[in-house]
């Protein structure tokens, strides 16, 4: 009952004109940015963080959460119509959705994605509403040992459960860790890994790193490609929205995708991208129309899109209630919280409970806004796909520079931006995924701090890892998380469900 009371209070604040406006603006802005080819939620949030600098914390956070799920939906439009997924999560949509569009069923594909996203998103927020307070209760039993373990688990899962080479995902994590350790050690105040450069002792700013890695390589690559790489935009004009059969065929995938996506989203270290891949494989496996997969099966759009939006809500749970981001995107949101001087976790539910419930309530509103705005406006968004590349990507570079300047106000900050842009480009060229390193960068200070405290409390022994009941439970889950994907891959290979999941 308490929860409902809190939520009601949140709604009362969230329907205030200003909050409502920011929720709508966030969703709209997110969709617009997400539609732009090559820009996913991570770059969208990273580029738009500077916009929220001057805002009230609650408004800024409402805006950025709206941007998050708005851009997820925007990405599915791009994937369906030009087969350029802005982010890994809508990569499978680029297969089935694009095939549907080629067969003149673009509207149905977009509709099933939108409705599925709405249903799954709403279910996930309901889950968030009721699970977070429980997790906050549980967090009372958490000490440094458990926090350390949870973060280590997040990093491990981010590598074992990624859709590609595990060694490369691990390399990405270690790059993030390496960058995160640069600067003064907060416990002793000693400089570390600064290579004698005094300016580095403040450490590498997280937003600069995220913007550099996610926006710059993509922009430079597209600008360097020049013209010639013309994309074919699938038209969608006279075809119909979803038919009765489409509804019937979508209902099951929506439901399964929601549950799957939510569970995967809650796991630390595993983002929505895996949720959409797994949903796709599952739908294909149980479908009676296997032959249609790869040729525009609506289930292959409905399930994954539901799964990745449920994953967004799921991923908010560990972020809000424990202060542990489970993915690169939630890591960015965590950064925004701390930028406003807020620390997500059990304390925020006690000290800033009004704020957190307003944000949760606004997520319900944002989800409704997403579907009301997007289906009628999809024609407008499609026009964005025709935006000339040189305009789009040069503008992104400028926005990134503004962001870096607004954070550091120095030439050195701008230089770091450029250098990490080069590093990001080289990482992509080497096939190293970028997202895990962002997660690692955010987690490394917390990881080290909790590790030290654990050993200080125990006097240097790692025994508490195994003797504390909660931490033992986490270890067991962690092992399951490491062994699970191997079993899953083995099962997938055996069944020849997919030759390999790789993302370019």
């Amino acid at each position: 009952m308490d929860t409902l009371g809190d939520l009601a209070g949140g709604f009362a604040a969230a329907v205030q004109p200003a909050s409502l406006a920011f929720a709508l603006l966030g969703v709209l802005l997110g969709t617009v940015v997400g539609v732009l080819p090559g820009i996913g939620p991570i770059s969208a949030i990273a580029i738009l963080i500077p916009v929220s600098f001057g805002m009230e914390p609650v408004h800024g956070l409402i805006l950025l959460c709206g941007i998050y799920y708005g851009s997820m939906y925007g990405g599915s439009i791009t994937a369906t119509l030009i087969k350029t997924p802005g982010e890994v999560a809508s990569a499978v949509t680029a297969i089935e959705g694009y095939e549907m569009a080629r067969r003149g069923r673009a509207k149905a594909a977009l509709a099933t994605a939108a409705i599925g996203s709405f249903l799954a998103g709403t279910l996930a927020i309901i889950g968030l509403t009721f699970l977070s307070p429980l997790l906050v209760q549980l967090a009372n039993y958490f000490g440094a040992t458990e926090y350390f373990l949870l973060m280590a688990t997040a990093l491990l899962l981010a590598s074992t459960m990624s859709a590609g080479s595990r060694a490369k995902a691990l390399i990405s994590i270690f790059i993030g860790l390496a960058v995160g350790l640069i600067g003064l050690d907060f416990q002793t105040g000693l400089p570390r890994q600064t290579f004698g450069i005094g300016l580095l002792s403040d450490g590498i700013d997280f937003t600069i790193f995220a913007m550099a890695l996610f926006a710059i390589p993509e922009a430079i690559r597209n600008l360097a490609l020049g013209r010639g790489a013309k994309e074919e935009i699938q038209s969608f004009g006279s075809d119909r929205w979803m038919t009765k059969e489409d509804w019937q065929r979508s209902a099951g995938p929506w439901a399964r995708g929601s549950v799957l996506g939510f569970i995967i989203g809650v796991l630390p270290g595993v983002g929505p991208s895996l949720a959409s891949f797994m949903s796709y494989i599952m739908e294909k496996r149980i479908s009676r129309r296997k032959h249609e997969f790869g040729h525009g099966a609506i289930e292959g759009v409905a399930g994954p899109e539901a799964a990745n939006n449920a994953g967004v809500g799921g991923a908010m749970i560990p972020l809000f209630s424990l202060g542990i981001p489970g993915s690169a995107t939630t890591a960015l949101l965590l950064f925004v919280f701390t930028m406003y001087g807020l620390q997500p976790g059990p304390l925020i539910f006690r000290d800033d409970s009004a704020l957190i419930w307003t944000i949760i309530a606004s997520m319900y509103i944002g989800n409704v806004a997403l579907i009301i705005l997007n289906l009628p406006l999809v024609g407008v968004f499609v026009k964005l796909l025709k935006m000339p590349k040189e305009i789009l990507f040069s503008a992104i570079l400028v926005l990134v520079v503004i962001g870096a300047y607004a954070i550091e106000f120095s030439l050195f900050g701008l230089l770091l931006l450029g250098i990490f842009g080069v590093i990001g480009y080289l990482m992509e060229k080497g096939g190293i995924p970028l997202a895990p390193s962002i997660l690692a960068l955010v987690l490394v200070p917390l990881l080290e701090d909790n590790f030290r405290r654990m050993l200080q409390i125990s006097g240097g022994s790692i025994a508490p890892l195994f003797t504390r009941p909660v931490s033992l439970a986490i270890i067991i889950l962690m092992l399951a998380g490491i062994v699970g994907p191997f079993l899953f891959r083995w099962w997938v290979r055996r069944r020849k469900l997919l030759a390999d999941v790789s993302v370019g």
């Binding site: 860790l177 710059i216 360097a224 790489a229 013309k230 040189e390 300047y405 997919l498």
Partner: protein, 197 residues
């Protein structure tokens, strides 16, 4: 560059970075704590070395297997399509689910989830774009946001589409001014004024 070569190079580079990172930890002052300030950086450096060597070793092993005439394993084949520069998005994904004839029942690629590799631009032009960007980074504070941004946008768009110079000019000037006004007056984020100030 084949996928194997790429992984070999990547692995070696990562390992070298790991060595440098590890060596840098020796200049961290030691303390008497249980976990010294050096502990974590040293672990990370060692981790990078091990992972880099692992990746390089894997690539060598795979390369030898390919050279030995074995048919390329799934993973290698997929990686190769990824790395090879193909025209547009006709690389992996088009070849996989869409284009396999409807006739074949359960061939491996037909069930694969393989995504189109992003196209690789020529290195020379990548360097040029990065160079332009760095020049912009260097001048934005001394020259000021408005002038340097307009100049940067004009250069980049003109390299891309020289014949549309009127549009480029309009875009460069208008975008710089609108963004400047929006950030400085709307969002209270101050941008460098430079020589105009």
């Amino acid at each position: 560059m084949t996928a194997t070569r790429r992984d070999l190079v990547t692995g070696v580079v990562v390992a070298v970075i790991g060595v440098i990172y590890y060596l840098a930890t020796f200049s961290i002052q030691e303390t008497s704590d249980i976990v010294t300030p050096r502990t974590f950086p040293a672990i990370v450096g060692a981790g990078l070395i091990i992972l880099g060597l692992f990746l390089a070793g894997q690539a060598l092993w795979q390369g030898r297997r390919t050279a030995a005439g074995t048919t390329r394993a799934d993973a290698t084949a997929v990686d190769a399509t990824r790395a090879d520069t193909g025209p547009g998005d006709t690389t992996a994904a088009d070849a996989t689910p869409a284009d396999t004839a409807p006739g074949d029942k359960e061939p491996e690629p037909a069930s694969g989830v393989v995504l189109p590799a992003p196209e690789d631009p020529p290195a020379r032009r990548v360097v040029l774009q990065f160079a332009l960007f760095f020049v912009y980074l260097a001048i934005v504070i001394p020259v000021g946001f408005l002038l340097s941004t307009a100049a940067f946008l004009m250069t980049v768009t003109s390299l891309y589409a020289p014949e549309k110079w009127i549009r480029n000019l309009l875009y460069s000037v208008l975008f710089s001014v609108i963004i400047y006004v929006a950030f400085v007056y709307g969002l209270q984020v101050y941008l460098p004024v430079g020589i105009l100030g």
